[in-house]
Symmetry: C2
């Protein structure tokens, strides 16, 4: 029951209730039923095949061509979730889901999302709902400490953190801020088209970098042709010598290196680029160093894995995704910058209708200036609920449990003569292939994914097919990895 201040008493009986007022929908009854449905779904999730067996068009064929003229009974709507939706989704929360990355969620986080929807506030400015902004700043400072990130990312210094929807969007903000810093804010002023004499802007990332980096550079008008894919070393991490030499070549040719995106955990194999060594070259040439730790960064919750953040103290920006491996449901990317002034200057446009005393007083953060969209919902709630419910230790336990399961699987792979580990790392991703080549590896993938009890995805390393086992579902336990192993071995 929310607190009821008595400054504004109203007569509840005198109130009109339009059909669209909340009171006209039995939110309590249908809400309880939805909560129970979700509880049943999550408790019974292993009864579903991880991947659905539907053909393109099946879902649409179940739905009427036109929307209803009159409203439908809620029971009929809710029943269609079972009839049409559940048979046609991939069950990302299934403990047999080992594909792509974990998009793990938790009860507290789901209730945070529910509360955010129920409150329905807008956090575009501090003044449009102060708690939405301040709670976000606060939990981002918490996260900064929990992950051992540099103190200058804290809101108390010149930097700060903000929740973005995804690492793609966070990286786009880094690209734009870096571009503006390099051009003296000409890119957003006169535009990139105006020759400014500083040479063509060039960005760098490893050959294994995430596709979002190229996409962001295209969106920002830098162009895919100006992304240099730096060669990787045997462990698939960026070669810092090759990076330094490519930068020198570009400078010599009159181009302007402006951005390096280092991966802490590449998508394919979780290779960790040598951030500290890259930072040296970046510092020498005024290059913005962005660290993309979307999935793996969360491992730094544990002291024993904190070495992945070596050198991040020299970075200009950094992001990781609580929505991947920290039980916060999608979307929740945590993005920090060393110097918030550059980011805000790159993204701020203040029209009259958003002017307000708090903003002009200069004592508040307006997060609309830290992201692409104007509007923003109250995403800090789910992060706050999750951190408080599990505590730091509960979240560390999660990471350690997943890593232990991965260690166990890696040991089995090492002991199996027909398989080989690919670029082994000591965290939660296991990459392997069959020694007989791609066809044999594909056969394993097909067998696993046809089972219904497990799902894996793939990548290519050096042109060869690789099976990826990403361990991170909220309820994954030893028996699920055992079952996966039996499938990989072909024992069932």
């Amino acid at each position: 029951m929310p607190p009821m201040p008595d400054e504004h008493p109203i007569d509840a009986h005198a109130r009109e209730t339009p059909a669209t007022a909340p009171q006209a929908f039995d939110f309590r009854k249908h809400g309880h039923a939805m909560v129970d449905w979700i509880a049943d779904y999550l408790e019974g999730i292993e009864r579903f095949p991880v991947q659905p067996a539907v053909e393109p068009g099946w879902v649409r064929a179940q739905l009427p061509r036109s929307p209803p003229d009159a409203g439908e009974p809620w029971e009929r709507i809710a029943a269609d979730v079972d009839r049409v939706i559940v048979p046609a989704i991939t069950h990302w929360q299934h403990p047999g889901f080992f594909g792509y990355f974990p998009a793990n969620a938790s009860g507290p986080s789901i209730l945070g999302e529910l509360l955010s929807a129920g409150l329905g506030v807008q956090g575009m400015l501090w003044s449009t709902s102060p708690a939405c902004t301040e709670l976000e700043t606060h939990v981002m400072d918490w996260m900064c400490g929990m992950l051992g990130l540099p103190a200058h990312f804290m809101s108390t210094g010149p930097g700060g953190g903000v929740i973005q929807d995804t690492a793609s969007s966070a990286t786009l903000c880094a690209v734009v801020a870096a571009r503006e810093r390099a051009t003296g804010f000409a890119g957003s002023g006169g535009g990139l088209q105006a020759a400014d004499g500083t040479g063509t802007l060039v960005a760098y990332a490893s050959a294994d970098a995430h596709s979002s980096i190229e996409k962001d550079l295209r969106i920002a008008g830098i162009g895919a042709a100006n992304l240099r894919l730096v060669p990787v070393r045997a462990d698939r991490s960026m070669d810092p010598g090759a990076f330094a030499s490519m930068v020198r070549d570009d400078v010599r040719a009159g181009r302007r290196p402006f951005l390096c995106v280092a991966a802490v955990g590449t998508t394919s194999t979780h290779a960790v680029d040598p951030v500290r060594a890259l930072a040296e070259t970046c510092a020498a040439h005024g290059i913005w160093l962005h660290v993309d730790a979307a999935h793996l960064g969360i491992a730094a919750l544990c002291q024993e894995f904190r070495a992945i953040h070596d050198g991040v103290d020299l970075a200009d920006s950094y992001c990781t995704n609580p929505h991947k491996w920290m039980l916060v449901n999608f979307d929740c990317d945590a993005f920090w910058v060393r110097d918030r002034a550059t980011l805000v200057r790159a993204l701020s446009v203040l029209p009259e209708y958003l002017r307000n005393a708090a903003t002009e007083g200069g004592k508040v953060i307006d997060y609309r200036d830290w992201q692409v969209p104007l509007g923003r919902r109250f995403r800090a709630l789910k992060l706050w609920f999750t951190i408080r419910h599990f505590g730091k230790r509960g979240l560390q336990d999660l990471v350690r449990r997943h890593v232990a399961l991965a260690d166990d699987l890696r040991a089995r792979v090492a002991a199996e003569p027909s398989l080989e580990s690919v670029c082994p790392t000591p965290w939660s991703l296991v990459c392997l292939r069959h020694r007989d080549g791609d066809a044999a590896t594909q056969a394993i993938i097909d067998r696993v994914n046809a089972s219904g009890t497990a799902f894996v995805s793939h990548t290519k390393v050096d042109g060869r097919l690789v099976l990826r086992v990403s361990i991170g579902a909220p309820a994954v336990a030893a028996r699920h990895v055992d079952a996966l192993w039996e499938l990989i071995r072909g024992a069932r």
Copy 2:
């Protein structure tokens, strides 16, 4: 209760349950309590002052400096919502909220968001959760019909619709697609910096256009200097003659007009730009015409207001926000393009780890290529639930009721000698000022906002302060507008 296919029976008792498994949190109990809390909150929302009376820093001062090591009891976490959050939010769902724009929500929509969080699926590709993509395509086709939008926006033709977070992001996609069409995809290839002989790219919007347009152009590297603010007519709509003449001047000077953003309902006053007349000039010069109907577009649910969409059949893209005025909680922007191939080509990058048979078969939509981020949650559920629960008629009734309340307020303003309407429109926004000038208008705004029972925002028109009354809260009724009127008049 979700359906339980019996293909994969498991022994529930043999299952291990890690502390982070859903079963380890009493989701049922705490979920029911959260539903009840939200029901109480929404039913009792008028007891709160619309705007909180907190100073910057108050929220953070209530919170511990560090996150807890061990997990906290749920009851303590939930109690902090009452203690820290509720006193420091603006109550956007309050029927006395007349500020900015309505961000109206509804029970069915909140449950759609809850279900989306509970399922926790990723819709980046069709194959990562087919229902997430197909339901979205389906309800976007429904919406296209409900709003009387052109048939070529339907998924059955060369165009199609997609849900974005906000109109800012939708417009950014339009900017990038337009830029790529104009440069033969050079912007994302060689980059905007490479002189391509086509001249500087120039965009156009009315002098009253939303700030997101300048922001999007800055992000896309076009630059604020290349946004032409076209003069407006007496009703604050874009002057099509001035637009045509500015385009001619730019072409004569060797520049390349590439984008015109027409507002169907400007933020300040809901002026409607003359889309059909603008489209003529756009067609003559190959300019991408994007229509931003973020707030007002929803009025077209009603036949009598459909004239706002005159000319949209000639546009290249269009967006409106069900999260503003259609009871779908934020975020839910509906974005359509006439030619999806251009949009997808501008935004698609396909790495190995996302390759899959369905994508390569060419029979599916992968919405990641229709937006900036890669990841995406199941936002179609809340749109589907809302449309089905209220039906087309229920949503039309909502619009008509709000417009009737606005009509009533406009009539009162017209009859009050000390006040004047500013740029009156026949929909749900009422703009007014005191005839004595800005200080008197500011005094009204201050009086209303200090009351706690109502909240309005402001803008400037021709340099003069204007009070905006945006009518659109889910439970707003005549008595709330009566009370606001008493405050405006100074009668209480």
